[in-house]
């Protein structure tokens, strides 16, 4: 039988996660397995004849491709000779230019770069990532999928993702045959949301390429690399087929990146005893060797495998840094959910979030978890406001922006209607009104019972059979009155002729400017350099929709104005020993009418008076005009009270009982947690005050403490309320009697 403390700890969500004992044989080791080879490079007459302890006759396909294509032999001698720690320091040092550390990395074998980066501590990884990522301006990628491949919902959600600032949208399918329909629906939705949003549809390699060639998607990412030959071939590819695939995309002007991630080989039982980080170093070297402009890594589907071993989360970030050091675009994981714990998943992402990356998430689930056909993401639609708040907290650009409800509502409707009209125009399918209305309003596909699963399947079949291209979609949009969106699709097609977005780490701004390693190179060189949000962007980051000012609070209070509390005249000292005064602060019933608990001040006064009456006391309301301090308010009222007992009350609802002979900071009872005080508790406070007046010692009421972040919820309001209270204070004005009107509803 476990003790209560451990029963309680066991029940926490983090204990749903799996944690593995390090086991090098199974590849369950983040860094430095005893089986990882020592770095080596032997070059004879310009030909690599040995790499990382293996001679060329024993090269597997990965070694072979990296050795033949991936290394800059002109710097290899220097790169391989440099001390690991010395290189790690160059990587972190802001005074050493990015070009220098990137240049050295190009001559390093996988084992060499892996071993050097193993030395970086978390804070050093943050600094290194800030300095070495390719693009100066950070960005973010969204997943937009749903369980039904509902084209209307996909379009509405793509428009929503674009409105929130995502510059790449990745979709996929639960039903493979639906893919072309999803690609078109998401492309239309993205075009409704913003110009320049890149769209991909992740499916099997050949089908994905085919869709790219038809112009149905504007980038590709699902081109997987693995760190051992066995697993690579199990994935039905070789480095040569992947190299060819990479060129095939470029030949049609389509951006692409490859995908890899530590732990993938261990998960598939083929790690060959090597560490996750070393195997990933092989993947990243190969990515560079085949000429991919970028890599999506950081565990990805196996992030939780890395997360299960010591140092695993650090290795995920180090993987991303390795991509940056190979001078490639880094799409830094934070996609597959790696923990049930909100604390752990935040901890895993946060260093990358503050460092900034080409794409902080390689798939922020902008839709609901259950609708994410990649599986739940590390960050999902329920976290969008958290992300926006985190950006604001740290003054960091995590790629997202606040979207106003009315704008999102308008965009969702336009996106869903555009898809409906285009599908009708192209003969792809019909959608009835209830389906459309549900999709516009839906928070997820469970809110769209009208969706029919055959519609996307049949639409996709027609798209493939009739060879519908993005030009046809643009024509349809234009014909149906969506000329703005048609133009945006044409601009995306034009981008693939111009070719500038084939360069490393390219995204488009809303003005269709390409931001990439070439046009927007990262120039971080210490404090005061590198990316900093523009004034306009900073304002966007800061102005989250939940922020409130004193003026907002005044308006909110004025809406609940109540005239039932009226002034009687100057307050005199009472003689009745049954009398208990209720000292209220200066703004009560004048500028403030509602307390933090949502009870009006009149409600509170009613309860207090009723409580007093229950115990035979007589209440008198006195406004104390010269202080905002509750102790002083209570004491002033007590000095006017016939019994010497008074209740003090601030407009925010904080209340106490005091006696005329107590010091200002003392009290008999205090309700300090105003937001959680109930009517019953205020009544009890009246009852207890009356008992004190009779000379009794009542049992104090228990303050309603809770586990909620009451302070986080109310402190900003308190600052505004106190400011309003202070504006009502008049030190020259003596206390005044107030009366509650009798007839009130």
């Amino acid at each position: 039988m476990t003790i209560g403390r451990f029963r309680f700890m066991d029940a926490q969500r983090v204990n749903l996660d799996g944690f593995a004992v390090e086991d090098a044989e199974l590849g369950l080791v983040a860094f430095a397995s005893p089986h990882d080879p020592a770095p080596s490079l032997v070059v004879v007459d310009g030909r690599v004849v040995e790499m990382d302890g293996r001679s060329e006759t024993d090269f597997d396909v990965i070694d072979e491709f990296v050795a033949r294509h991936g290394l800059d032999l002109s710097v290899a001698d220097e790169a391989m000779a440099i001390d690991d720690i010395a290189y790690a320091r160059l990587v972190v040092d802001p005074n050493v230019p990015r070009s220098e550390v990137v240049g050295l990395a190009s001559g390093m074998t996988p084992a060499k770069l892996a071993r050097a980066l193993t030395h970086l501590r978390p804070a050093e990884l943050v600094l290194a990532m800030t300095k070495v990522r390719a693009r100066r301006t950070p960005s973010n990628q969204a997943h937009v999928t749903n369980r039904s491949d509902d084209p209307l919902l996909l379009a509405a959600d793509a428009a929503t993702a674009a409105a929130f600032g995502f510059r790449e949208i990745e979709t996929t399918v639960p039903v493979l045959g639906d893919a072309p329909s999803n690609a078109i629906a998401v492309s239309i939705g993205a075009a409704v949301g913003s110009p320049g949003v890149l769209v991909q549809c992740s499916v099997e390699e050949a089908l994905e390429l085919e869709m790219g060639m038809r112009g149905l998607v504007s980038y590709a990412e699902t081109v997987s690399l693995y760190g051992t030959e066995q697993i690579f071939v199990d994935g039905d590819d070789t480095p040569w087929s992947k190299a060819f695939l990479t060129s095939a995309y470029a030949s049609r002007g389509i951006k692409m990146r490859v995908t890899s991630g530590g732990g993938a080989e261990a998960l598939m039982g083929g790690a060959e005893g090597c560490s996750m980080f070393y195997l990933e170093a092989r993947c990243v070297s190969l990515a560079r060797a085949i000429g991919s402009q970028g890599v999506q890594n950081g565990g990805i589907d196996s992030a939780s495998v890395a997360g299960a071993v010591p140092g695993g989360v650090r290795s995920l970030m180090a993987e991303n840094l390795m991509v940056m050091l190979r001078n490639l675009e880094a799409c830094t994981g934070n996609d597959a959910l790696m923990s049930e714990s909100d604390v752990r998943r935040t901890s895993r992402t946060h260093p990358i979030f503050i460092a900034g990356s080409d794409f902080v998430c390689s798939g922020f689930g902008s839709i609901q978890r259950y609708d994410n056909m990649f599986g739940p993401s590390q960050w999902n639609s329920e976290d969008v406001d958290d992300w926006l708040a985190m950006q604001r907290d740290w003054g960091v650009d995590g790629g997202l922006r606040t979207a106003q409800e009315q704008d999102v509502a308008r965009l969702r409707r336009r996106a869903a209607e555009a898809v409906r009209d285009v599908y009708a125009y192209l003969g792809l399918g019909d959608f009835d009104e209830s389906w459309l209305e549900q999709a516009v309003d839906a928070a997820g596909s469970k809110d769209v019972p009208a969706a029919d699963l055959m519609t996307p399947l049949s639409a996709a079949r027609i798209i493939r059979d009739t060879g519908i291209s993005m030009l046809d979609v643009a024509t349809a949009l234009d014909a149906c009155g969506y000329d703005v969106e048609a133009e945006r699709l044409l601009l995306m097609l034009r981008a693939r002729i111009d070719g500038d977005y084939l360069q490393t780490a390219a995204i488009f701004t809303e003005e269709m400017q390409v931001l990439s390693l070439v046009t927007d190179p990262n120039d971080y060189a210490g404090p005061g350099t590198g990316y900093s949000p523009t004034v306009e962007r900073q304002r966007e980051i800061d102005a989250i929709r939940q922020q409130r000012s004193v003026a907002d609070l005044r308006a909110e209070q004025a809406d609940l104005r109540d005239d039932s509390l009226r002034l009687v005249g100057p307050a005199a000292s009472g003689n009745d020993p049954r009398e208990v005064t209720i000292g209220v602060s200066a703004a009560v019933g004048r500028a403030l009418w509602v307390s933090l608990s949502g009870l009006t001040v009149v409600d509170i006064l009613d309860e207090l008076l009723a409580g007093l009456e229950e115990e035979g006391a007589v209440g008198r309301i006195v406004r104390v005009n010269d202080s905002v301090d509750l102790g002083a308010i209570g004491l002033t009222a007590a000095r006017l009270s016939g019994s010497g007992i008074a209740i003090g009350l601030q407009a925010k609802g904080t209340a106490l009982i005091t006696r005329r002979d107590l010091s200002p900071l003392a009290n008999l009872e205090l309700y300090s947690v105003a937001p959680t005080v109930t009517r019953e508790l205020y009544r009890q406070l009246g009852v207890n005050a009356a008992r004190h007046a009779k000379g009794a010692t009542p049992e104090p009421t228990r303050n309603p403490y809770s586990e909620q972040a009451i302070e986080a919820r109310y402190h900003t309001k308190v600052v505004s309320l106190v400011a309003i209270e202070r504006s009502c204070v008049d030190p020259s004005l003596a206390p005044e009697d107030l009366a509650l009107a009798e007839a009130r509803s």
Partner: protein, 118 residues
């Protein structure tokens, strides 16, 4: 200004042109010269491998989609015999796709050594 594979200026890719029905698939296909230009940009930005990829791609612009897909399929593990890969390389070479031909020949040799031929 950039020319599409069709020879038309990319700036001509407009709604007006679309409405006139004057846009064809080659108006939205990249021109090999553009890829060569991008390759030189990649080289100037310390990525010769990206440059090499873009040059392979420049050659592939001349192939129809189906053939590109077919070559990709042929390069997947255990899809082709040594002879088939060599013949494919020969065919590409004869049409001026020399870089891709070299890639296929290299693949054929490595596949042979690593047991990845059909």
């Amino acid at each position: 200004m950039t020319r599409a594979r069709s020879g038309n200026d990319s700036a001509d890719l407009t709604l007006d042109a679309l409405r006139r029905g004057g846009l064809v698939a080659d108006d939205v296909r990249i021109h090999p010269d553009t890829l060569e230009h991008q390759a030189t940009v990649a080289e100037a930005h310390s990525n010769p491998q990206l440059a090499a990829n873009l040059r392979r791609a420049a050659e592939l612009t001349s192939l129809p989609d189906e053939e590109v897909l077919a070559i990709y399929e042929a390069l997947r593990p255990r899809r082709s015999t040594r002879g088939e890969l060599d013949a494919l390389a020969e065919s590409l070479e004869s049409r001026g796709l020399t870089i891709n031909a070299a890639l296929l020949r290299e693949a054929a040799a490595v596949y042979s050594r690593r047991g990845m031929l059909r």
